[in-house]
């Protein structure tokens, strides 16, 4: 859906220096990897945020500190760690994930999870105590209470997911290391994302084409954000 306005638009405006199908395949890989990573991160983060946000346990502050520290993880370091894990010599070596999209999703999962968890946690914690009390008073189970809280916090959670997506799709260090920036000989991306494509163009001194790809990336992020915000607004004002 976000592809349609962008793909035909780029070659028309700039007399694309790229081969046919190149830009759209790079966009596809970017979106596929980032969306998959963010989806997985969200599935992992929201339960964690709810548990941490709604219960009290010893070491809670420490867990929060760890999550917040994770937001600052340098992506190159994450890339190296994932490389170590998926490399043939690593613990997951037999799965042959090195230089695949799956490996890229793994590293982006690691990168996107801390911001999604931290922001979701803040949103969940920010839900008024009375909401929880009301849910409980109406005979809700713990699960019901959690659902009500998530519903109340949905706008903050949407922001969390967007922040995670922004981190994932704009990240270059780890996907370059674990993905290898590969295209096939006919110019169809296998593990090349917009960011690594930009890096490649910059390496070759082709700053103009790098800028074009940068514009595509910004447009893409803007589109995704617009879609989510629109969606969120509709939810808030039924």
């Amino acid at each position: 859906m976000p592809l349609d306005p962008i793909v035909p638009f780029v070659p028309a405006l700039f007399e694309s220096p790229f081969r046919e199908g190149y830009v759209s395949s790079v966009i596809y890989v970017s979106l596929y990897v980032s969306l998959a990573a963010v989806a997985l991160s969200t599935l992992f983060s929201i339960p964690v945020a709810i548990v941490v946000g709604l219960t009290d346990f010893p070491g809670k502050q420490f867990v929060k500190s760890v999550i917040n520290t994770g937001m600052g993880f340098p992506s190159v370091v994450v890339g190296l760690v994932v490389l170590f894990a998926v490399s043939n010599q690593g613990p997951l070596g037999s799965l042959e994930l090195i230089f695949t999209k799956q490996a890229m999703i793994m590293s982006q999962f690691v990168l996107a999870t801390p911001p999604i968890t931290a922001i979701s946690l803040a949103a969940v914690t920010g839900v008024d105590e009375s909401v929880r009390d009301a849910a409980r008073a109406l005979g809700g189970t713990r699960f019901d209470v959690a659902l009500v809280v998530v519903k109340e916090a949905r706008y903050g959670i949407a922001t969390a997911v967007l922040a995670g997506f922004g981190r994932a799709i704009s990240e270059v260090g780890s996907v370059l290391i674990v993905g290898g920036n590969i295209t096939s000989a006919d110019g169809i991306s296998k593990t090349r994302t917009l960011t690594t494509a930009i890096q490649l163009e910059a390496r070759q001194g082709q700053y103009e084409t790098a800028m074009v790809l940068g514009a595509v990336l910004v447009a893409l992020v803007l589109t995704v954000n617009a879609v989510v915000v629109r969606f969120g607004d509709r939810g808030v004002q039924p």
């Binding site: 695949t100 999209k101 000989a185």
Partner: protein
């Protein structure tokens, strides 16, 4: 954990992946090569499979080639790989990393074949048992490039080491790759041969690829060592000129830039796709492809000179340089 995650990804992405043949094929290739590719093709038990696999036991598989930025960024590999992929019905994943990183990936068993340009590092790689069946592939040369006003006055010098000494004495800006690439290795060898230990404000290690190093040198009016191929493919964008030529233009032999290709030793990494790696080496050293390499031009200039096809034997290409069966060396 990870396996579940992967299955989940596979589930949600199955439809989307299937729509891009290249991706699903390569995924299938690496998945199918999961320790089974050697036996599949080796024992001829693939009679139950489709006709495609009768043509070549490697059909549908993926070859991972780690290589230097200069072979990739000049566009050579994209130009020639289509032929190989079609011939064997395989896909080639070319990962452009720089010589040091390319060899390191191969050392970890993450690639099947390496194409690099630093004979010293290649020899070490072979001596350690990681690389086998090395062939000389092609060559071009290095050139010392710099700003036209040439503050160190090295233009036309016949000796690369004298030129570097002059740059060091003038303390003129010099940009080093600083990334353990083949070009960086050559540069360090040249400094050593010149008897100079570079350092100081004028000497900058950038830690970047050749294209970026050329850009940095261009912006700072600095000298740098470049392979001719990358320089030619970028020349229209920058103001640097060649000040000391390599052997292709009758410059000193020390600036020669030979590329070698090796298969990863399946005795060390049993997951390496050795069959396909050897098919690739055979293909790229064949007369037809060597011709294609010599015909490859950027901006009207030939970038690489084939070296694999020769009437005269050159046994040194197969072994670490200087190795001989009579010597007590190892």
């Amino acid at each position: 954990m990870t396996i579940q995650r992967r299955q989940f990804i596979a589930a949600i992405g199955a439809g989307a992946v299937a729509s891009t043949a290249g991706c699903s094929q390569s995924n299938g290739g690496s998945g199918g090569g999961d320790g089974g590719d050697g036996t599949d093709s080796g024992d001829g038990s693939d009679g139950g499979e489709s006709d495609a696999s009768d043509e070549a036991g490697v059909a549908g598989e993926t070859l991972t080639l780690t290589t230097t930025t200069s072979t990739y960024d000049t566009g050579l590999l994209d130009e020639i790989h289509g032929d190989f992929e079609e011939m064997y019905d395989v896909s080639v994943d070319a990962v452009a990393q720089g010589t040091g990183a390319a060899l390191e990936s191969a050392r970890n068993g993450d690639s099947d074949v390496v194409m690099v340009h630093a004979r010293g590092l290649e020899d070490e790689f072979m001596r350690n048992g990681y690389g086998i069946n090395r062939r000389d592939l092609m060559f071009n040369d290095f050139v010392i490039v710099g700003p036209e006003d040439d503050p160190a006055g090295i233009q036309g010098m016949e000796s690369a080491t004298d030129a570097l000494t002059a740059i060091a004495e003038a303390e003129a800006q010099f940009v080093s790759r600083g990334d353990n690439s083949g070009t960086h290795t050559k540069e360090l060898n040249l400094w050593e041969a010149a008897g100079t230990d570079p350092g100081g404000d004028w000497y900058q290690e950038t830690g970047t690829g050749m294209g970026e190093a050329l850009n940095i040198a261009n912006q700072q009016g600095a000298y740098t060592l470049s392979d001719r191929g990358t320089f030619i493919s970028q020349r229209s964008e920058i103001d640097l000129t060649i000040l000391v030529q390599g052997p292709i233009e009758d410059g000193p032999e020390i600036l020669a830039n030979p590329y070698g290709i090796m298969a990863v030793n399946p005795g060390v990494h049993d997951n390496a796709n050795y069959d396909l790696a050897m098919a690739y080496i055979g293909w790229i050293t064949s007369p037809d492809v060597q011709d294609a390499i010599s015909e490859y031009q950027v901006n009207g200039e030939q970038l690489f000179f084939p070296e694999a096809v020769s009437e005269n034997p050159d046994f040194q290409q197969y072994v670490p340089e200087g190795w001989s069966s009579e010597s007590t060396d190892e």
